[in-house]
Amino acid sequence: MSKEQKLLVITFIVLSAVSSVIFFFAKSDSDSSLSFISVWGSFASLFAFVFLYLQLKSQQALTREIDQKIIDTKKLLVKLFSIADISKGPKIAEQAQTFLRVKKYESALLRLKDLKEILIYIKHYNDKESVLDESVYSDHITNVTIDLSNINDIIIGKKNKINASKINGNLEEVSTFISDFELKIKDHDF
């Protein structure tokens, strides 16, 4: 029972007791117990309606609280899944660097595509929470796209050479960027 309901019940009991006492000590011959019970019954019904109204209000408040808890839990689950996906980024960057070192360009291309997906995911996350610097993000996504294009050109035979050390440098930077972002969303209530 809520505080208001308790107060209502106490008020009802006290008023009933007081009115009963007043009736039994101050009644005249023309007053009958039946009329008293009839009037008391009407007031009891009124109190019952007010009690019901308070009950509905408290139920609504409880429902709102439960809804909010569900939303908070969903947010937490999304955050946990986000961290799990994003945390793969540095490992993927490392794999791409390894593939580049041994000139396995097709595998490096696939890893870079995965990295681009993670960056897009980070952007989507950031659209809701505004955690990262848009300009820095833009640098990294552009570099990954340029590197993807150049590696693809090697694979299809359009070009003969790539600047592998530049790509490795870009991968190091994007790996650091992703790790920083992961820490930000882990350590703060985003």
Binding site: K116, L119, K123, I146, N150, I162, N163, K166
Partner: protein, 128 residues
Amino acid sequence: MISESIKTLIRKLIVKTNSKQANWKPSSGENSYQLRLTSGTITVDAWFDQSEDTEYMGVSIYNNSGDRIENIYIPKMDEENYELLMELHNAVNESYFRTDETIKGLLDEIDNNGDIGHEIASDDDLPF
């Protein structure tokens, strides 16, 4: 084919680059450079396509979401457009390697009175 707006962009880039007001950096492609602006990124590169036995010049434009919005590559046989892109690429090359400044600096040093050339530090600095 290069659209007029892209040609205008390239000509303005040539002017800006020649005035040493464009901060080009090496890119990951072959003989490739990129210029990062607030509105997007431009890359320029030059390569030899062995399968077609042709030289190419290329320019690409990327937006801030990392999407490639223009990808132009011109073979040497398209003389007019190839020359335009080559002029840009040469200006970028020159700007990045500071060829002019380096040669001027060398000439100034040589023209000075006195000896030229520094002692090259030896790794063997032990007394025995």
